[in-house]
Symmetry: C2
Subunit: 681 residues, 2 copies
């Protein structure tokens, strides 16, 4: 037994004997305790704050007496005066061991701190970012032993931080010399720690101690919208979240029409590449402004997207994705430079794209797999990411299957007569009165129902502008529940339905939701064509899930996770009325929010997760719906709309009730719709 | 002992027993014999040609009978009909072992063939380029087991060529898919095999078998001129050599004036960076045209240059190089991408810059060290690279010292009244008649002396335009030898010198070399200011060499190598009359031509040499002339011009002969010149 004092760290439980006078930071480093430091123990950064415990610690069989640490010193006092230290805190680089002591490392002093996710069932993210800050003191140039400034900086990183073979991009060479001199040879360096393909790399240099942070972006590049989280890479916090429309929409609402555009126009793919990159830059400008940060401090970005977006973003013609065998140019994860993608962030910023699973199952599905981890699930979980395409994962820790299904953009409010994207003024909640068959609704931006007092004032600025994706789901489901739509999907006449809001509209009927024309606003209706769009979308979604269940050899799943920005807003009840997903117990259907975006955020904050998901994706079994006859079969069968949500806890029996059917031609039309539907991935 | 037939390869001497029916290429690969193949033994590329030997081989103790190889087959016949095979040649992939056989691998069938250098004393270059061609057959996409085209191509490279973890740049993703399909999944791939910092990388893809080559550039970026060799990376041959003026000259003739320009103008460094890169692109366009090749096939480029050029080319402000302690931004070798330097070659082309030795001793000196290998020399060698700056190396295999000396551009014909760069019409050879004291000369582009019949016709197109660097050396030396200039450097009067060509020119005298005014041409003279410029240049050169000798602790060297484009044209005799270099036996002074350019070519053709020179440079001792009092001392003492080349085989005794001195004020003026001379590196 050593006669040196015993130092015990919590929460890790690591312990060791250290000579009197050893700084706590030094002890922590020697034991491999996760205690942060940017300045390397020089009393500048205060990242190494610790909380010493005093008194009896029966669990550790130790008594900590007063004087177990050195006295509060002037460096700590200076920091206290300037910034303030929390009660009971000391600086780990200043406080030295004087006797047996128990040291607690608070979460904010840990490098690999846990980033807590909002959902109870989700695993927390362990912070392990690509880029960290290091304060170093660099040797001055010596004419008698000439060497470059960069080489002396590299030596400092090696000697002071054990960082070996750190390289630098050209712009670092270009900027480094005045910064080193301004900082009197003391600088803070942001170092990207490297990965399987790339060595560690100096990203940025600041003179002296830099009391700031660097940022990363987790980007979900969707066909319709591009959304991003801006994250602080030192704390893992989301500093801002923002989204823009994908400017490619002007080349086609759905993916297939964009693939067609590139086939019909020689420079079509190039135009779309330019458009999406410009949209990306606009988003980055916007999010940096919202976060109140300098865009030049964004040093890392992770992208998730479907394969067509993936290729167009990279400048690859998506031609091959439009036809069998749907060959991707590249399916593996990609590690690129932001400048090669014309992105307006830090000039050395690195970009990571998650791997694609197959020609129709993209990096977005991989991100969902990373976030929802079906491969780690004990029970059989169906994960459905609802967007312009649905990515569907089914599995447990034994096996995971994946496919994609061409739902089309109806669930995002597109191709719907009064549809619009989710934005203030859009109808998002609907209830139809069983007696009057009149709809009341809520719009985004207001908590009031449309028939409540003050609604008109609440929407004065936005108006009522259209119906968003979740609104149209509720609308159609409510129409079905109140007998306005029959099981095959036809809107009855005013007479058949008993609703004064139904009106003849050409060869079919439509339903009036809201008439704002008196005040110069829109007249919002649901047409029978809208119903058809929703039917086809939900049938595609359902068929994909059924196909995976066939392949897995099961008739039911243990639980369902609805992902997608849309999945977060969807009413589970209404989704079930529509028959979007296979049978599952009501309480086992949960929403995961934007799981693809979360997966991107995990890959951004924890570089180890990148290798993990690459491994997982290699093990996922891919099912190509386009060549599976059963997919088409399921699709045809799934176009009808059930209506019973209660009293049955098991939903989506696809049996239609003949007495609720206005006419039987609708089924045939739905089948026709299935046949003429293009692959739109 | 195996009963299988014995196969012996020459010149390697490698031998082994192989089953009857084994292709010679297979046997070669198994033994590690250096036998080329691009198509991997498919009978397409014909790179694996071998020459079987028949009869008795007493040295190998083997008798080769007829029928020791399989019969000439139809693949060989097809190749014979189409291209022709040399007498006695077979294709190594077609001919199979049938009995004991001796197989000679001719040089052109070796991958690591020797590239022969013109000079007898120089070591040959072993070809080992960054980029090689590989023909592969790629698996077609499979919907049931989806993977990217790139991943299947990577698998083919791994399985068919044992190339692991080959990556690709973005533009490869963008172009690959149609090429794979055009070649029916058979393609030829140019692969950069990677280095210490970078993984192997696909550079280019051609459909089917590509019967061409790829190229590299060895570039010598000088202050005055940029010169390049365009090399075939499969054969090592120089396809074209070309040069342009460095466009930075408009910002200042010498390096110091360019550093000053960048100090005085906020965007000065940027302007000069743009200028040199544009000049580089112009040169590359020119050299590709001269070589008759597509610039897009240039996949590798090696650059050598002095530190100021190095920094300006990279976009680094050379500010720190203009003042002590002359700190380089980076001194190590650099591996960059051509696009980052705005170069107009292959979009994935890689760039290698040799390491800098010190703030005044650049990558050009490293290249000279690579070419002349003083570190491998048994005897003590002084290597002098004469340019706007002289880089000087002194050493043997025990130790190498290096320094740089600010000779200024006089040796390149600049700052000389009638000076010009080496180009047709420039005077390059001079003789002054001892009796008449009239000069006769030769110009570049003609072999006739100016007093020979037909000279006027020979120069009809070029005229006589000026004096180039080697011409001015000979001119001054001849003037000294014929008593027109005295030891301190003053031109005597017509009376003193007995030359009717001398004329009073302000406060000093000048010498008329050629009067072309009658025919509208120039009047070419040597002024006393020209003499001063040459005196200072040669004194700087001499002093640097002397300083290294002091540091080495020697009074003489075993041999002298004159490098530099200029060094190749210089007359050793005249250089000695001038006293440019320290004492050495006459027959031990050789010219190495453009050794920096050769070093660049070695690093281009043999990637292993890159690691070697990086290692060597780390071991070279750097001497900074600017802080060595003895340098200035040597400089002052060296400004006089000796004149005795014969009968003394040991040259450059700096003793001046008083009876040949017109006046003694000259020495003082030369000293003043030394003092006012700026550091121009």
């Amino acid at each position: 037994m050593s006669s040196d004092p015993l130092v015990i760290f919590t929460p890790s439980g690591k312990r060791g004997h250290f000579a009197v006078g050893t700084p706590i930071l030094t002890a922590a480093r020697q034991l491999g305790v996760d205690l942060d430091s940017v300045c390397g123990g020089r009393g500048i950064c205060s990242k190494c704050q610790i909380t010493p415990g005093f008194g009896e610690f029966p669990k550790h069989k130790v008594t900590v007496r007063d004087g177990a640490l050195s006295e509060w010193n002037k460096v700590e006092q200076r920091y206290q005066d300037k910034r303030g230290l929390k009660e009971g805190r000391r600086l780990g680089c200043q406080a030295t061991v004087q006797g047996d002591v128990v040291i607690d490392v608070p979460p904010e002093s840990q490098v690999h701190k846990q980033v807590v996710r909002k959902r109870a069932e989700a695993r927390d993210i362990v912070l392990n970012p690509s880029t960290r800050l290091f304060y170093v003191e660099v040797a001055e140039p010596d004419m008698h032993d000439p060497s470059g400034d960069l080489e002396r900086l590299q030596n400092a990183l090696r000697d002071q931080w054990a960082l070996e073979n750190v390289t630098a991009d050209l712009h670092i060479f270009q900027q480094m010399q005045p910064i080193l001199r301004k900082g009197a040879w003391k600088v803070t360096v942001a170092v990207n720690l490297g990965d399987a393909e790339n060595p560690a790399r100096i990203m940025h240099i600041w003179p002296g101690y830099y009391d700031g942070t660097v940022y990363g972006l987790a980007v979900d590049l969707g066909s319709t919208t591009i959304a991003a989280h801006l994250c602080d890479l030192q704390t893992g916090e989301v500093v801002a979240s923002s989204g823009v429309m994908n400017p490619q929409i002007r080349f086609g609402e759905d993916l297939m029409s964009r693939v067609s555009y590139s086939m019909m126009n020689a420079s079509g793919a190039d135009e779309m590449t330019r458009a999406v990159r410009e949209g990306m830059c606009a988003l980055f400008e916007q999010i940096a402004e919202e976060g109140g940060i300098d865009r030049g401090l964004i040093v890392d970005a992770v992208f998730v997207c479907n394969p067509v977006m993936h290729h167009l973003f990279l400048g690859i013609d998506p031609f091959e994705l439009g036809q069998a065998p749907f060959a991707l140019a590249t399916s593996n994860a990609l590690r690129l430079r932001a400048v090669d993608l014309d992105l307006n962030i830090h000039p050395s910023a690195r970009v990571y794209l998650l791997p694609c699973i197959a020609g129709h199952v993209g990096a977005d599905a991989a991100a969902v797999a990373l976030s929802e981890a079906p491969d780690k699930s004990e029970d059989l979980v169906l994960v459905v990411d609802v967007g312009t395409n649905a990515e569907i994962l089914l599995g447990n820790k034994e096996k995971v299957l994946a496919c994609s299904s061409p739902t089309g953009p109806a669930f995002e409010g597109a191709q719907i007569s009064s549809g619009q994207r989710a934005a203030p003024g859009a109808i998002e909640r609907v209830e139809i009165d069983p007696a009057t068959k009149v709809a009341r609704f809520k719009v985004i931006g207001s908590d009031l129902w449309s028939d409540e007092d003050g609604f008109d004032d609440a929407i004065a600025t936005t108006g009522v502008t259209g119906i968003c994706g979740s609104g149209i789901i509720e609308m159609v489901a409510e129409m079905r529940m109140q007998g306005i739509v029959d099981a095959p999907g036809l809107i009855g006449t005013a007479e058949q339905t008993g609703s004064a809001n139904v009106f003849a509209d050409g060869r079919t009927n439509s339903y009036l939701v809201y008439d704002g024309t008196a005040a110069g606003g829109p007249r919002i209706t649901v047409t029978n064509r809208d119903i058809r769009e929703i039917q086809m979308a939900k049938a595609a979604l359902y068929s994909g899930a059924r196909l995976l269940m066939d392949k897995f050899g099961v008739d039911k799943v243990d639980r369902v996770v609805l992902a997608g920005a849309f999945g977060a807003h969807i009413s589970t009840k209404h989704a079930m009325v529509l028959g979007m997903i296979p049978d599952a117990p009501l309480d086992k259907v949960t929403s995961a929010g934007n799981a693809a975006g979360t997966g991107a955020r995990i890959a951004l904050l924890n570089t180890a997760a990148r290798g993990e998901i690459e491994q997982t994706v290699r093990q996922i079994h891919k099912i190509e719906t386009a060549i599976e006859p059963r997919f088409q079969e399921h699709f045809v069968n799934a176009s009808a709309i059930p209506n019973a949500v209660e009293p049955f806890p098991i939903l989506n029996s696809i049996v239609t009730l003949p007495n609720e059917t206005f006419n039987t031609g609708g089924g045939g039309e739905a089948e026709g719709g299935g046949r003429r539907r293009r692959r739109a991935r």
